[in-house]
Amino acid sequence: MHFWKAFLHIGAPRKRDFPGHQPGEHVELITVLHWVSLVPFFFQVAILFGLSIWFITSDLYSEITDVPRIFTMSIVVALFIHALCFRLYNYSLKVILVTNFRVIDIRHSVFLKREREAIPMFNIQDLRYQQSGIFQRIFHYGTLMILGSSTDLKYVFRYVPRVNKFHHILAEVHQKRLREQSSFPSAMLREKGIPPAS
């Protein structure tokens, strides 16, 4: 058990809240995408798996090759387990983070992809969310749109879980950040003992 924990880095001390954490930054919300984003992939895998098993158990297989069925079957099962679990690992590595400074979209995969996009709070002009369709309403997910300060800046996050709650938290953090920024010069002047201009 100790080996397993050491191998997987479970219980290791964490110095930062997330990779790329800046001083003074604190996390307000972490989320992965909704599990519905996995459904199309799982359907494809299930159909392919069914077809493969049907082929291996059919008479056609024995006409084509003399490789024992158990060999091929175990290889096919292993490949499908790899596909499923690898997809689940990738799913857990795609993270949306909201901190008091920025919104970070981390799109990593296990081996091949390292991608990160950060949207500073002061670049956010407007926040919108959309839940349309019966599935989005039943399973509580939707699309979140972050509109940037220039017209061509638009960030779209699909399959955001509890999108209304997510939007609410993000809007609160955004407003708080804007208030802090707008009060910053007067607070600095007060600290220095300079009276604000009337």
Binding site: F7, L8, H9, I10, A12, R14, R16, D17, F18, P19, V27, E28, L29, I30, T31, V32, D66, V67, P68, I70, F71, S74, I75, V77, A78, I81, H82, C85, F86, L88, Y89, Y91, S92, L93, V95, H108, V110, F111, P161, R162, F166
Partner: protein, 75 residues
Amino acid sequence: MNWWLFFGFHILSLVFCLMATRATFRYLSKYRMTPQTSFLMVGLERTQYVALFYVGSILILTLLSLAVGIFHFFS
């Protein structure tokens, strides 16, 4: 079919599975999660079940292939 090819595939498969599991957990362990901030997150703790299933099933398939190989060898 040469049994060694079959067994070799499963050994490589097991190695790949362990590498993927380690890489994933090394990265996920960099997040510090609290119930207040990560209530929507599939974190380290819940991904452990996936890892358990993944490593367990691939290990069982490898052992099964070994058993089949031994059976073929002695029969």
